[in-house]
């Protein structure tokens, strides 16, 4: 199938297949990375529901926790966890591309910027774990 322009009727213009993202591993990973944002939104939405349940009182909160424990919700959350993890890792790996930091006139190496992001992630996770697990 070819599309032509008025001025150059003989140039061949191939169409891009809707399955272009299956042609290369890198494209497929890209589409997965973009899809992961749906799961990030899902987790954020769940957190909002949780806040609402807390506000509605102990009974509503108990019902919410029960709903969280049902097999379909657990399955969705297991999948969401994998996607959110993938999202975080790809995000931190991309961070040095968008930021050019200069210290004392010298460019800070990409690996240092990525490492700082990972360190921040670990610290934040440790803080959350501390708040959750203390009695």
């Amino acid at each position: 199938m070819s599309r032509h322009t008025a001025f150059h009727p003989r140039w061949y213009r191939p169409r891009v297949s809707v399955w272009w993202w299956l042609e290369k591993r890198a494209y497929a990973l890209f589409v997965l990375r973009e899809t992961s944002s749906v799961f990030v939104a899902l987790v954020a939405g769940t957190t909002l529901l949780q806040v609402r349940a807390v506000k509605a009182g102990p009974e509503a909160y108990a019902r919410f926790l029960e709903w969280l424990g049902t097999p379909p919700v657990l399955a969705v959350h297991a999948l969401a966890f994998a996607f959110v993890l993938f999202h975080a890792v790809t995000w931190f790996n991309l961070a040095p591309k968008a930021m050019t930091l200069r210290l004392g006139g010298k460019k800070v190496p990409d690996a240092v910027i990525a490492a700082a992001n990972y360190a921040g992630w670990i610290l934040a996770s440790a803080l959350v774990a501390f708040l959750m697990l203390r009695d």
Binding site: T5, R10, Y12, P14, V16, W20, K24, F30, K97
Partner: protein, 245 residues
């Protein structure tokens, strides 16, 4: 080492066919030969009508970009030995209209490149008598990687966004705009802002990142685009702030 290797070359002769076809050519295998040497062997010995662009044979001119086994490559740097046992598929660069055989029309890129003003813009030139505009090594480092672009357009063929959204300025044009934005002798960054952050500009990019992977000169256009997203966002938040670097 094999004696010969097969090339499967895309042919498109608009006067006799409405869609590209492929043709197989058997060429001798030499370990020092690149795909471009094999194509030249075909043209010299097997079929003089095969059309393709090339010039320098040493990765400088950026003319001989083609798809080799589905990947955008400079054919002068793609050794036959890396694609054994073959056959080796040679196709025209993706996402560009094909004029004939392996030759694509790059007019779209050239028009976009002009739009981003890839030259030093000065409000006022200082008199020649005052000498050159001097730069420190750090000032040079700020833009040097982006200045290595040879306009080979491999990055466009790696970018699915360019394929799907033809209005996208594309990786090389944006990297070259950044090359001048980051040059301390340039004063045109305000002029480029509207073009770069408008329709078809940086916000079309979803950071697939393949432009950087395929670049033979390590220009890293993906970095240029993501950096400029930050610049443009800061401008949007603080339009009164000076400079757009």
């Amino acid at each position: 080492m094999p004696e010969a290797v097969t090339l499967v070359v895309t042919r498109y002769r608009p006067e006799q066919e409405s869609e590209p076809t492929t043709e197989r050519f058997e060429v001798p295998f030499r370990k020092e030969w690149v795909v471009l040497d094999a194509l030249n062997y075909v043209k010299d010995r097997l079929d003089g009508s095969l059309s393709f662009r090339w010039s320098c044979r040493m990765g400088v001119c950026g003319s001989c970009g083609m798809m080799v086994n589905g990947e955008p490559k400079l054919t002068c740097g793609a050794f036959l030995g890396d694609f054994l046992p073959g056959p080796i598929r040679v196709e025209p660069l993706r996402f560009f209209p094909v004029i004939r055989d392996l030759i694509v029309d790059i007019g779209d890129f050239l028009r976009k490149l002009r739009r981003v003003k890839p030259w030093l813009e000065r409000a006022e030139e200082k008199p020649l008598g005052e000498g050159e505009y001097l730069q420190t090594p750090d000032q040079l480092d700020a833009y040097k990687p982006f200045s290595m672009c040879i306009n080979c357009l491999l990055c466009y063929s790696a970018c699915p966004i360019y394929g799907l959204e033809p209005s996208f300025l594309g990786p090389a044009a944006i990297a070259l705009a950044q090359r001048y934005n980051l040059d301390n002798r340039d004063q045109g960054s305000r002029d480029r802002l509207e073009i770069l952050s408008g329709k078809g500009g940086i916000w079309e990019c979803t950071f697939v990142g393949q432009c950087t992977e395929v670049c033979p000169k390590h220009v890293d256009p993906a970095r240029a685009i993501q950096q400029y997203k930050l610049t443009a966002a800061m401008h949007w938040l603080m339009p009164w702030a000076g400079g757009s670097r």
